[in-house]
Amino acid sequence: MSGIYGVLQTGTQALLAQQKGLEVTGHNIANVNTPGYSRQTVNMQANAPMMTSQGLVGTGVTARDSKRVYDGFVGTQIDNENEDLGKWDAQKTALERVEIIFDESSDSGLNKTMGEFWNAWQDLVNDPSGNVERIALLGSAETLAFELRNTYNKFSPLQADLDISIATTVDQINLKAGEIADLNQKIIEAEGGGSHANDFRDARDSAVKELSSMMDVTTYEESSGNINVSLSDGRSLVNGSNASTLSTMISDSGHRDVVWASDPTVSINSKISGGKLKGWIEVRDVIIPEYKGNMEDLVNGIKGVESTEVVTGAASTLTTGDYFTISSPTADYNVWYNIDGGGGAPGGNEIVVAISAGDTAARVASLTATAIAAEADFDASVTGGATLTIANVVAGDATDSADSGVGTTTEFTITKRIDGGNGINYLHRSGFDQSGTAGGDFFSGTLAGNDFAVDSNISADKIAASGTAAGSPGDNSNAIAIAELQNALMMSTNTTTFDNFYNSMVSDVGNKVRHAGMSYDHHTAMVTHLENYRESISGVSLDEEMVNLIQFQLGYDAAAKLIGTTNEMLQTLINMV
């Protein structure tokens, strides 16, 4: 349409376009503090010109739609960094709690308790028959056992807390996945008409960002506008407007593992490689079990752990003090091996089998048979070279060979001392208490069983300080041997002392916390940087909006003026009539 009405039409369109500009500016100003908001701009376009007799004449402006200013590449980068940040954030907070368990910064803690325990043995050395020293030793042994148990037991609540965090996070992931699926649908619907669903897209980007801080996800935007989200096991969490659900299950270790709700027995823990979930899972399933294991090793080292092991009876498979137990109706006997005159009886009724390094299984079997047969209760013989048969010879109980503990093969089930096995129990059994009886186990129980304690049979007078049998109250040689365990290389395959083993554990915790802290700081800096970059592109600048405001206001004023002027022109025309 040309002519004066055409000018009027142009003015109206200009008014609308400037108004649209003002609306968008207002929207931007209103959302200056909205997280994840991207500023929008109005897409104004000059209308197609008309061919008139005067040539091509412009027909004004149309505000097509508003578009958000957004750099998709930065968004993806932020998501990736967020996965790492989430992981280190979770690890840092969880490890800081582990660090508190090993509170050695003040002058208390396990390090000190262990020192006091060994010192108490030295006090006993100074006065091996002193009742005060014995009671004090018993007290410090109980304190040590308590502290070890106490420290160890602090790990489980921590793991349980992490379970809760993991379960809660899985719920949040489901929520976010649902949100994304919802938004996918809204965006498709809104953009079907060719416009841009700016705010929905912002909301969806925010949801993806939050999702990536919880676990590692891969996103892919389809040409339709859908975002598909999949996990690193390749399965899709969000597909168009459908969201799958994650859930948790109780694993064999008693903790919560992440699973697909549709496949509730298959843990996908190992597939998760980022986000808070990864951080928590790593602390709960790798780091804490490692420390628990270390604590157990420490206790086993102090105690001296024996394990039942099937060994072929050759001397090379035996260590002095290895033993097995056979029973007769009258008593249990510990049959133990003494290689080249070593020591270390397991205590109790014993049958000593003296063997030499290098003895073959056949020779060991033969020596064992001879030693056992010397005891009145038993008859033992060797057949077929190395097959040991033991039978009770007490009248009326000849069939009790089931108790013998030794099968009829060359393999003996022998209780062996494992790494560091020559701990306190071993030495304590080699000594004698105040009444001249061979000492029993000093510690019993395990940390895992929550029953690690001074053996219930140990009382002050039952502490075996003496190294010689029967009635040597002034003998302190066994107490010396035990006290010197403190400096013996008993841990990590005989390469370090108890104290150093524990100290390096504390150092290790410190290192891990430090490392997590540094990684957290690093990734925080990265995310801050990227966020700033994003803000500099997509963020709202009030100054800019002010300028726009004035710009659109002036435009609006001018358009109004155009209409006014046209109106006057029309009046003039009418008055002419």
């Binding site: 002034g474 963020g539 600048s541």
Partner: protein
């Protein structure tokens, strides 16, 4: 570059947080005076701190051990000094009295020796705390038993020829192998009462045999008390009893052997990592001489001296022959005393070493763990300034005019 409002806010926020965190750390250092407040502050340092703490605790324990060993050694030393004086006195009496012609003076001397014997016995049975000092590992058993009442008279404890005397005229001696005369100590001028203990397995049987043998002599009445079957009580026969000085046999020293029932067990103390020193002397080291090269049994020598001084008729050589043995006894005690002073020196040297070493470990610990107060405070000031600066910047930024103010 575009600068959006949120960018400014974010930067202010992160700067404030960072500075606040550093300020907190600086404050903690000043408040606790420690550089390491948790393992992550300095993981390697923490390991060292724990190691040093353990070392200090061990040194303190070694110090305790050494102090208690020193006390014991000092105590032993005092006893050995007294013992030395006593044995030396007995040695001098040999030369003083070997030609003594006055029987009363000799009796007086004999009583003096008896007194010395009693004191030596008391020293030998000294307790340190609850434990007998010279008993080896048998620290709860009195190491030297005076066999006056023949309470330790198990056959196995007796050697052929062991004896005790009844007054100055009789001696009761034990024949362990039933070969009668062989082994008879036959001290000059005494009547022997032989007790055949061959094959007797218990102290009760020995006591009973002793009683029978003594009873057979008309001058004595001997009984085994019903409440103490391994003890013999002996009194002069009221009818023919002409030996009133026998009355004290139950309490005096009368057997040939003061028996050592301790053992040769060593008592070691820990004075350092893997370092032990032996701190005890046993009865065999000092008194019986059994553990010493060319040692002598001091009790035997004193007993012999007393017997020889009491003997009637008096034999000069019986006294003077003991001079050599007593001289050996003096040497034996001196040797023990020297070993104790060497031990004391060693303990002292070790103690000094630990004192110095502890000082340096405490220093090293302090260097790693303790915050230098001046540095910490200066750093706190610096952090405070930084924090205030970031606050001021923030305030400035938020107060700045925007375009709105000019429209």
């Amino acid at each position: 570059m575009r600068v959006s409002n949120k960018q400014m806010v974010n930067i202010v926020k992160s700067d404030l947080f960072r500075n606040a965190e550093q300020l907190l750390k600086a404050q903690e250092r000043v408040a606790t005076r420690k550089l390491i407040n948790r393992p992550s502050d300095d993981p390697i340092g923490m390991g060292k701190v724990l190691d040093y703490r353990k070392t200090i605790s061990s040194i303190e324990q070694y110090d305790n051990n050494i102090t208690s060993a020193k006390n014991r050694t000092e105590f032993t030393d005092t006893l050995l000094e007294n013992l030395h004086d006593l044995v030396d006195q007995a040695k001098r009496m040999v030369s003083e009295h070997s030609n003594q012609t006055d029987p009363e003076l000799r009796q007086g001397a004999a009583q003096q020796v008896e007194g010395i014997y009693a004191q030596v016995l008391a020293i030998a049975n000294t307790k340190y705390g609850d434990a007998y000092l010279f008993a080896g590992h048998q620290s709860d058993t009195q190491p030297f038993t005076d066999c006056a009442a023949i309470t330790c008279g198990e056959e196995a404890d007796l050697t052929d020829g062991d004896y005790f005397t009844l007054g100055s005229g009789y001696y009761v001696w034990y024949d362990t192998d039933g070969d009668l005369g062989t082994g008879d100590p036959a001290l000059a001028g005494r009547t022997g009462i032989q007790v055949d203990v061959s094959g007797l397995g218990s102290a009760v049987a020995v006591a009973s045999a002793t009683m029978t043998a003594i009873q057979a002599n008309p001058n004595f009445t001997a009984t085994v008390p019903l409440d103490d079957l391994d003890k013999v009580e002996i009194v002069p026969n009221p009818v023919s009893g002409s030996y009133p000085d026998v009355v004290d046999v139950n309490t005096g020293f009368t057997t040939h052997d003061t028996k050592y029932v301790g053992d040769s067990g060593k008592t070691n103390v820990i004075v350092g990592e893997g370092a032990q020193v032996r701190i005890n002397l046993t009865g065999d080291d000092i008194f019986t001489g059994a553990a010493v090269a060319s040692g002598t049994n001091i009790f035997d020598d004193l007993k012999g001296l007393k017997d020889a001084l009491e003997a009637d008729p008096f034999v000069t050589s019986a006294v003077s022959d003991l001079a050599d043995n007593l001289a050996k006894g003096v040497n034996q005690v001196e040797g023990a005393a020297v070993s104790q002073s060497i031990l004391y020196r060693r303990l002292e040297t070790t103690e000094n070493h630990w004192v110095k070493f502890k000082d340096s470990v405490v220093n090293m610990l302090s260097k790693i763990e303790d915050a230098d107060y001046a540095t910490a405070i200066v750093e706190l000031q610096a952090q405070e300034t930084a924090y205030e600066a970031s606050l001021a910047t923030a305030a400035k930024m938020f107060n700045k005019k925007s375009l709105i103010d000019f429209l």
